[in-house]
């Protein structure tokens, strides 16, 4: 992908994010106003929002941890195989 195309895509993405900021803030304010101060429904929404916020982080963390462990296991297996090959050559000489 060319540099100009990448820069154009980044500019479009940034512009769309800036454009969406107002609407998102308005949504949060409306939710807070409509639900009231400290009712059961407000607390229910708060717990639900916290849960939904946590899930992507848990998934991303789990995915990163899985990749890290897979890479470590693969490197250990490669080293063990190389060590075995070296020992085998030495035993022959």
């Amino acid at each position: 992908m060319g540099r100009a195309v990448r820069q154009s895509l980044a500019a479009v993405l940034l512009a769309s994010l800036l454009r969406a900021a107002d609407a998102a803030a308005q949504g949060c304010a409306m939710c807070g106003t409509a639900l009231g101060a400290n009712g059961a429904r407000t607390r229910a929404f708060q717990w639900s929002i916290l849960f939904l916020m946590a899930v992507p982080y848990v998934l991303a963390g789990g995915f990163a941890g899985w990749l890290y462990l897979a890479a470590r296991r693969r490197r250990a297996a490669a080293r063990a195989a190389a060590g075995f090959a070296t020992d085998y050559k030495e035993s022959l000489s």
């Binding site: 229910a44 639900s48 849960f51 998934l59 990749l67 890479a71 490197r75 490669a78 190389a82």
Partner: protein, 205 residues
């Protein structure tokens, strides 16, 4: 005149640098992880919906609606969790190239999954007869959508297990080539792990 004997020095070998070849995870495993991540977000949305209904209501379930069958579903949960064992052993058998054993174990897994679905369906029919339907407010709607979505996933997993069982019987897998079987096993783990979260949330909380 004295001569000094010099011991022959052994030439030291340079340290061995081992760089493993190929990708860290296979494409099949990566695809399975992406599918599970997407499905997890779907269920996260449904659980979020359930939490809003559950926490904003004082009496749950509503007094006029029937209670959920906790004991039968707990026993049924044991069936689903137990089905993970033959599926795991089937994957181990495929990795060793023992396809006959893998076929039997995968078939057993599929049967346990079918038993789970049959008991769930039977209990649903009883609940509907006692008046708990999808239209019975937030309780009925949340229960059937959340648990029904999981049952649909178990059904898909059972069909997938049936497909890989047939393929294993036809010797389409081997010790070196078994990505499809592995993906199916990962999906089976996922539906069982999902139930470990859903059962306490919906039936016990």
């Amino acid at each position: 005149m004295t001569t000094l004997a010099v011991a022959p020095t052994r030439r030291r070998r340079p340290p061995l640098v081992v760089e493993p070849q190929g990708p860290v995870v296979s494409n099949a495993r990566l695809a399975a992880a992406l599918i599970i991540a997407g499905e997890s977000m779907l269920f996260a949305g449904l659980v979020g919906m359930y939490l809003v209904f559950r926490l904003s209501t004082e009496t749950w379930p509503p007094p006029e609606l029937p209670r959920l069958p906790v004991l039968v579903t707990a026993l049924n949960s044991i069936v689903l969790f137990a089905s993970v064992v033959p599926m795991h052993r089937a994957l181990q058998a495929v990795r060793r190239g023992r396809l006959v054993v893998a076929t039997r174990l995968a078939g057993l897994t599929g049967l346990l999954g079918l038993l789970f679905l049959a008991v769930q369906g039977f209990e649903w029919v009883r609940l509907v007869r006692h008046g708990l339907t999808l239209q019975k407010g937030q309780y009925g709607g949340a229960f059937y959508v959340l648990i029904g979505c999981h049952a649909l996933h178990v059904l898909v997993a059972v069909l997938w297990v049936a497909a890989v069982t047939v393929l294993a019987e036809r010797r389409r897998f081997s010790a070196e080539r078994h990505d499809g079987f592995e993906m199916c096993t990962i999906f089976w783990y996922f539906v069982a792990a999902l139930w470990a979260g859903l059962f306490p949330l919906v039936y016990l909380y």
